[in-house]
Amino acid sequence: MARPDLKTAQLPAVQHLVVRYAKRGKMRFASHRDVARVFERGVRRAGLPIAYSAGFTPHPRISYAGGAPTGVASEAEYLTLALTSRLAGPQVRERLNAALPDGIDVIDVTDAASGAHAASGDNTASRWRVVLPGVEPAAAQRAVAGFLALGEAPVERLTDKGVRRLDARSAVITLDVLDPADPEGGQRAAVTGVQDCAILRMVVLHTAPAVRPDDVLTALRERHGLVPSSPPITTRLAQGSLALLAGTSAL
């Protein structure tokens, strides 16, 4: 008979891989718990030698950095896999992409020990792109100018724990509207699928409690009358140190 307290022996982790992945298209509606479920099954489908925690209900050892909120797309999400035997990053990327649903797409896999990934060390802020359907770029310019002139912009957000008050202004490092004349503006339709819109770009500090692009949009709506015709589409483009984000201006 099995001994009641015998815990399953688990192989030790010998390698930690940092996975940068995207949440695209329909998968932007996945919550962080949905994404965790997807990866737990994905690593098993991919046959990766994932390490497990000890205990009665062993869990695959995957740790997630603060994920983009439900409904927000991302090109820069990070998680760390603990493996029981060593594998090359590109091979892991390939195997995961074959196993994951479309829209949860692995961009890059690097060894945690190399420190070569953006989210290591000084991960202080994110760069975001927000598409505002039905908004004139000029109207967006005026609202943004008004917002940036504020000393603070208190907003309320409804959370599971009730109403939370935040200052949306202090966390915003940069905020601008993509110039329609900008060569990048020509990509607008291709990037967003929305023809008639304004596109905001912003760098927002990772604060506690977290200020999200959504909170900035709340301030723009409440204080500066900026109301899109349908819900905004937000994408995280990058996260890391301010120096690193200053160097990534790509749409």
């Binding site: 008979m1 001994r3 399953t8 949905d34 349908s230």
Partner: protein, 647 residues
């Protein structure tokens, strides 16, 4: 012509609803086919929330069976929650499939699987959002054929006016036969319109519009008969006779959203002949047909590899009854040793559970909860329902479980069974205390627990209790309260015993919908128009609404809610499902009902797998036979092992 996706119109609504991921599809295992590549297109609907409907085996099996065929396309659609329903109505977004977000109204067939009657109002929401007229009689060639299946469809009369056809029994071969009829009818230029198609289906499926009901002045049914030529007086269920030839699902759909069952499930046998008198599933799915250990092994290997699930559920109505269950459990546990894949047996009889199973199910360190269903608290009660489990069986089983490391055992019971007294229900408290006492002794620990879960019994069609009076909700509630008090009374045990119960009122409505006839359709429509949705969910269910709607919708009839529920029927009464043939001999069912309530004590019915045939009628009526092992085969662990790589 291709059909446009409604996703561009749906997408802006999704940030405004709860759990939007349930509406976007894109799951591993899902299939999207080119619209024009198919000439017969099915929308398969589970009329409840995605989180409940996604794991449904019936839908997953039919989805795969249909999509494997060239020229056939199947997509899935689920009930949307009221928050999205309101937005869809505001913005003119129709009911959609989650696979390619195609409008349900564009398909040839809307196939709806009913596991429970409480989903009937959701059927109306799905039809209405799809732009399909609620009444079959109002549909034209522009609308899909609406076909129901699933266990609840064995008495479809309450929703008969909303359905075009009903499939009884196993769906694997039936959906393909129906597909062939639809294809031939379309290729011939849709001769005789919708009726032409329904006539072609009338021997495969029950077509309610071809049958008329007449009633006695007191409200009882006087006659049910076909209203045109060439329509059979009764319609029989379908039975798949070789489960090894139908090894589905092979590549299960792996949800992104959280769902009620997070595992790869394989049906290890279909049917049950234990003969529990309350159990509709056990009556309508006869005979027992086992899937062989080797097919189960290869399905598990492929299913786990394709899905990445870390739990394998061995499904059936009573999984420990498989003739080779120990071999299956030992061999699968061997294959997955050290891989963190666990096994579970969702339905286990206490008298079939054993030490081998206890050990194999916990081999990988997992001890997911063990649940047993004695159903009746007293030995007398269990005899009445023919759940022949002795208290000693139960005590031995829980003792084994606690000794093998489980800390928690769940016990399921029913309240309101025929002939039940207060004492029968209170006996549950004594049983639970004995379970804890034995568990403490077997485990040597004080922290073990037992949860008593109890709900109201609802008499179901095609069972020996189909004639029984349903217990009034006040009586059920009083007994549940008394049991709660008794469970808390002894302080030495109170903290170790958990108590969960469902009160009696929803059971009354389930009873109305289970044993109702066509007149009940008016009540369902009234409840839906009044806002009835998701009636299986306590946060949405309104007893007051249903009582009010039953009163108004049946005001001009000699029948009412009590007539349908708490009234005992006699032998001669025509039951609303008598023309629907599950194979069970009506006289056998009646005798079994009489045997259960015999004043001298209930007579026992054995299981025909292990005793001579007692002629319930199914095999002779349906041309079927019992299929059980043992096969003597074993699973080769090394062959299955590459499932989870350990490089």
């Amino acid at each position: 012509m291709p059909v446009e996706s409604v996703y561009p119109a749906l997408e802006p609504l999704l940030p405004r609803v709860r759990k939007p991921v349930q509406y976007v599809g894109g799951e591993v295992g899902s299939v999207t086919k080119d619209w024009d590549s198919a000439d017969v297109r099915w929308a398969l609907c589970y009329p409840d929330a995605y989180e409940v409907g996604l794991p449904n085996q019936g839908i997953q099996i039919l989805y795969e069976v249909l999509n494997e065929r060239d020229g056939v396309l199947a997509e899935r659609t689920y009930a949307v929650w009221p928050d999205l329903e309101a937005l869809m109505r505001d913005h003119g977004v129709p009911q959609f499939t989650v696979d390619a977000h195609r409008p349900v109204g564009a398909f040839d067939v809307l196939g709806v699987s009913f596991a429970t009657e409480m989903a009937y109002t959701n059927l109306l929401t799905v039809l209405d959002l799809a732009g399909i007229p609620l009444f079959s009689s109002e549909r034209t060639l522009a609308h899909p054929l609406v076909i129901a299946g699933g266990h609840a469809a064995f008495n479809p009369e309450p929703i008969a006016d909303f359905l075009d056809a009903v499939v009884l029994g196993d769906g694997e071969q039936a959906v393909l036969a129906i597909t062939d009829v639809i294809r031939a009818w379309k290729q011939a230029g849709q001769p005789d319109g919708r009726d032409g198609l329904l006539l072609g289906l009338a021997n495969l499926a029950y077509v309610p519009r071809f049958y008329d009901f007449s009633y006695h002045p007191d409200g009882r049914i006087s006659n049910v008969s076909p209203n045109r030529q060439d329509i059979p007086p009764t319609v029989s269920k379908h039975t798949v006779m070789d489960l090894d030839a139908w090894p589905y699902p092979r590549a299960p759909i792996v949800p992104v959203a959280e769902t009620v069952h997070e595992r790869y499930s394989v049906e290890i046998f279909r049917g049950c002949t234990r003969g529990c008198r309350f159990c509709q599933a056990g009556m309508i799915t006869r005979p027992v047909r086992e899937r062989s250990i080797t097919t189960i092994g290869s399905m598990v290997a492929a299913g786990v590899a394709a899905s990445g699930f870390d739990e394998v559920g061995l499904l059936s109505l009573s999984s420990a009854d498989h003739s080779e269950i120990n071999e299956i459990a030992v061999d699968l546990a061997d294959c997955y040793e050290g891989s963190n894949v666990g096994l579970s047996l969702p339905s286990t009889r206490v008298d079939a559970f054993n030490v081998t199973l206890a050990n194999e199910l916990s081999r990988n360190g997992r001890r997911s909860g063990l649940t047993f269903a004695p159903e009746g608290g007293s030995e007398r009660m269990r005899k009445v329902i023919n759940k022949m489990v002795t208290e000693e069986d139960l005590i031995r089983t829980v003792s084994t479980s606690y000794a093998s490391g489980w800390r928690q055992v769940k016990l399921y019971f029913m309240c309101g069974l025929p002939t039940e007294t207060d004492e029968d229900v209170l006996a549950i408290a004594a049983l639970a205390r004995r379970v804890i006492a034995v568990g403490r002794e077997a485990s040597g620990r004080r922290d073990i627990r037992c949860t008593v879960s109890i709900g109201a019994f609802v008499p179901k069609p095609h069972t020996p209790f189909q004639w029984a009076a349903q217990c009034p909700p006040e009586v059920v509630d009083a007994r549940l309260r008394a049991l709660g008090g008794a469970l808390r009374a002894d302080r030495a045990y109170a903290k170790a015993i958990g108590y969960r119960y469902h009160d009696g009122q929803p059971g009354v409505i389930e009873g109305l919908l289970s044993r109702g006839d066509r007149r009940v359709g008016r009540v369902i429509l009234a409840a839906w128009l009044d806002g009835g949705r998701f009636d299986g969910w306590s946060e949405y269910f309104s007893f007051e609404r249903w009582v009010r709607c039953a009163e108004s919708a049946l005001a001009n009839e000699p029948v009412d809610l009590a007539w349908y529920t708490t009234r005992e029927r006699d032998y001669s009464e025509v039951l609303p499902w008598d023309h629907l043939d599950a194979g069970l001999d009506r006289d056998w069912l009646w005798q079994d009902w009489q045997d259960s309530i015999a004043p001298e004590g209930a007579a026992e019915v054995e299981d025909c797998r292990w005793t001579p045939c007692y002629e319930c009628g199914v095999c002779s009526a349906m041309g079927t036979e019992i299929q059980v092992g043992p096969t003597g085969e074993r699973l080769d662990g090394r062959r299955l092992l590459p499932v989870v790589s350990r490089r």
